[in-house]
């Protein structure tokens, strides 16, 4: 049988758009996604922390007349075990039939990265090692001898600095030669295990090659897996290659015999895997020592000094709070001006639209419905959502790029462990402060499915950007109301902080409760890399965070806001006997609302505010003023007057603040929960948890208030 007819790792696939397919592999946080973005011009999100790419991302680029398909596979330290990302990565490299696999490695910690490279050499010959972050290595006085590395591994090695696009040219050249098969073929580096193990592998390999026509390299790799006995990998191989490995009499026999021989020689099956791993790590170490020169042994000193402060017992958590407060403050203050600008622009257009509608003799009810209903709500959501997001996300992304977020997780992990959760949940909560929908998506960084689900379900317990201004307004009017000047803003800030801290405490409490009830389980192992600090690329951050997150979230919000605008308008304008549907709903909700120390209109506003939390206050004002469209008021004092006239007391204010933090997620977040969990059941639970918290808390405060105060 000729080699071509053999079942090989690189079965030819029917190629559609591209001439060649290239897989991009590597450890987490080595700049894979940066290379991907720079080559494809796409905006796959990157960050200085582990686990950004959870599914394969695909992009295309052209080079010298050929089209290449680039597949960014999840970053992993290894492809030998069975976490979700490792499986995706392994399956793609093994069975995705790429023409070449580029393994991106970090020049500053080459040794550890080589571990993955060596594992991949066991699967494919068409390998390119791309040594990234050479600039940082230089800064740390680490010298990497690329040629030497290439000589040892017998694969092409390219050095790049991914953030500088120009340096990628070499990589492109090598990709081309490898894909076209023009690269000189050498026998690629092969890991040599202990002699006894090598013999065992050989024996099984022989049987497998007798049974199936499989390429030698693949057969060797499969043999190791057979001896290892890892069922999930074996099942995947069976499925992909359409062969039988488990319960195959010949193979089973060979396996048993070899394992027995190994046992006689003192190598037990449990140890087998460990020996395999150890050999690879030791090989990586050996190669690393040969090709890297550390001119400055204490290269990490600066980072350690910063770490000592940022994670210190005394300052660690206060610094974290200050950082976050600073971000919120900049966001809220900074968003005011562009928001007002957008309001006035959209307002002017609205006037023109009304004029136009009159001009074409559009029936008034129709123009009102479309302009005051749909258009106004839609533009409202854009005006209030866009600016804070456009400010918050870049700031947050800078923290991300710096490498600060894993430190936050490190600082807070103790608390989360007590709640049987992962410290990484803290990072997702921080994202939740910006936007709960993003926070929910961010939960992908948590490995354990149980812990991830808990993080998703509790994310809404921290208030997002859309809820902050409302909280601040209420706190300013009712809690700091009697105080003037700077004192007022301090008092209202403290009040908002108290509510937020309550949110964080509730997150921990609910997480704990979930861990003890419907999502029973122990905290899984927590292994978190604290990457070196990196200088953020400010311009990139800006572009990336606006395009990746802001526009995306805004798109979802708009999709909900337009129909919601219509519904709100209809409910405010259609009525029976002079009473609008809105009022009728409010009256219906009144008894429940009273128990919660609120009124029916407030609850109604929260329900109709489901497209975006930002429109809750405008709806409340609309109801109180008997209006038929959303009410925009800049003057806090005037808002306070209206609210007081409608019976708001300090109790109402406190309960509204509580309910603002603890109520059902907005529509965008709910859709995201559905997408991330794939289940309406969990979406419903994600809806209920904060709502029940809010209702109970509000009833409690009302009860306490009535018992002790009045």
């Amino acid at each position: 049988m000729s080699k071509k007819e053999k079942l090989s790792i690189r079965q030819k696939e029917t190629k559609r758009k591209s001439n060649y397919t290239i897989a991009l592999a590597g450890n987490p946080n080595v700049g894979k996604s940066t290379i991907f973005n720079n080559l494809t011009g796409m905006n796959q999100h990157t960050g200085n922390w582990t686990g950004k790419t959870v599914a394969n991302a695909t992009g295309y680029f052209g080079y010298r007349g050929e089209t290449y398909k680039l597949v960014d596979i999840p970053g992993t330290y290894s492809i030998m075990s069975h976490s979700e990302e490792e499986e995706i990565a392994r399956n793609y490299i093994c069975f995705g039939n790429p023409d070449a696999t580029v393994v991106v490695v970090d020049a500053t910690s080459l040794e550890r990265n080589l571990n993955l490279v060596l594992q991949i050499t066991e699967i494919t010959d068409n390998l390119i090692v791309c040594v990234n972050l050479l600039d940082e290595a230089r800064k740390k006085k680490i010298e990497v001898h690329l040629e030497e590395l290439s000589n040892i591994l017998k694969v092409p090695v390219v050095g790049v600095t991914a953030r500088k696009k120009k340096t990628l040219n070499n990589l492109l050249k090598v990709m081309r030669t490898v894909c076209e098969g023009k690269e000189e073929k050498h026998k690629i580096y092969q890991i040599q295990y202990q002699e006894k193990i090598e013999k065992a592998i050989e024996q099984v390999q022989e049987i497998i090659m007798e049974q199936y026509s499989i390429e030698e390299k693949l057969a060797r790799w499969i043999s190791i897996k057979v001896l290892d006995g890892e069922e999930r990998i074996l099942k995947e191989i069976e499925k992909q290659l359409n062969i039988q490995l488990i319960n195959h009499s010949e193979i089973d026999k060979a396996r048993k015999e070899t394992l027995e021989t190994l046992e006689e020689e003192g190598i037990y099956q449990e140890e087998f895997k460990e020996r395999i791993v150890s050999t690879i790590v030791k090989d990586a170490e050996k190669i690393g020592k040969k090709v890297c020169q550390f001119r400055n042994k204490n290269y990490a000193n600066r980072d350690r000094k910063i770490d000592k402060i940022l994670t210190s017992k005394k300052y660690g958590i206060p610094i974290m709070i200050v950082f976050l407060l600073l971000i919120f403050w900049i966001t809220i203050v900074g968003a005011n001006y562009p928001s007002q600008f957008l309001f006035s622009v959209f307002g002017n257009i609205q006037e023109k639209l009304i004029e136009f509608a009159t001009y074409i003799h559009c029936p008034e009810w129709l123009s009102n419905m479309l302009i005051l209903g749909v258009y106004q709500t839609l533009t409202w959501v854009i005006s209030v959502m866009l600016p804070p997001m456009a400010i918050f996300f870049p700031l947050f992304t800078i923290l991300e790029d710096l490498g600060y977020l894993p430190r936050i997780a490190f600082n807070m992990d103790g608390f989360f462990k007590k709640a049987c959760c992962s410290g990484k949940q803290m990072i997702t909560m921080c994202m939740g402060f910006g936007c709960n929908s993003c926070g929910v998506t961010g939960c992908r960084i948590i490995d354990s499915p149980r812990e991830r689900l808990i993080a998703i379900l509790t994310n809404n317990l921290v208030p997002c950007n859309g809820r902050f201004p409302f909280l601040i307004t209420i706190a300013t009017i009712f809690i700091a109301g009697t105080i003037r000047g700077i004192g007022a803003s301090i008092v209202s800030t403290i009040a908002v902080m108290v509510v937020i801290i309550l949110g964080i405490i509730m997150t921990l409490v609910i997480s704990k409760i979930l861990s003890k009830t419907i999502l029973k389980g122990m905290p899984s192992s927590f292994v978190l890399e604290l990457p070196p600090y990196r200088k953020p690329q400010f311009l990139k951050v800006l572009v990336r965070s606006i395009f990746d997150r802001t526009i995306f979230i805004l798109g979802r919000a708009i999709a909900v806001a337009a129909p919601a605008g219509l519904v709100i308008w209809l409910f405010a304008n259609i009525g029976i006997q002079g009473q609008s549907l809105l009022t009728m709903i409010a009256n219906f909700l009144d008894p429940l609302a009273n128990l919660m120390g609120l009124d029916g209109y407030i609850l109604t506003a929260f329900i109709f505010g489901i497209p975006a939390n930002e429109i809750v206050l405008p709806i409340i004002l609309m109801c109180y003023m008997q209006g038929t469209s959303l009410v925009n008021m800049e003057d806090t004092f005037a808002i306070g007057e209206i609210l007081r006239q409608n019976g708001w007391t300090i109790l109402t204010a406190i309960n509204v603040m509580l309910f603002t933090v603890f109520h059902f997620p907005c529509a965008t977040t709910l859709l995201t929960i559905k997408k991330e969990t794939g289940s309406w059941k969990w979406t419903a639970i994600g809806f209920l948890i904060p709502t029940v918290c809010g209702v109970v808390l509000c009833m409690l405060t009302t009860l306490v208030y009535h018992v002790f105060v009045i």
């Binding site: 790590v281 350690r304 770490d307 894993p406 899984s524 890399e529 604290l530």
Partner: protein, 75 residues
């Protein structure tokens, strides 16, 4: 030399991994990070709440919780 766990190392004190014990999943993760026999490991940071600690080995800084670190025996 007596075998102890990496938890018994003081901040800044270097240990050499002798053995990794414990349940398969965590053992695998630690091995994947390059923690094999003979690896030097040094705790360098401690979280404000006392746990986890961050360890330096093979040029990386990795946070590991007490219960998980318990599995890393050093000499």
């Amino acid at each position: 030399m007596k075998e102890k766990t990496v938890n018994e190392l003081q901040l800044g004190e270097i240990g050499v991994v002798n053995n990794i014990i414990g349940e398969e999943t965590i053992k695998r993760r630690l091995l994947d990070l390059g923690l094999i026999e003979g690896t030097s490991i040094k705790p360098v940071l401690i979280s404000p709440s006392g746990d986890p600690r961050a360890f330096e080995f093979r040029g990386s800084l990795i946070a590991i919780r007490k219960e998980d670190a318990e599995n890393i025996k050093v000499k």
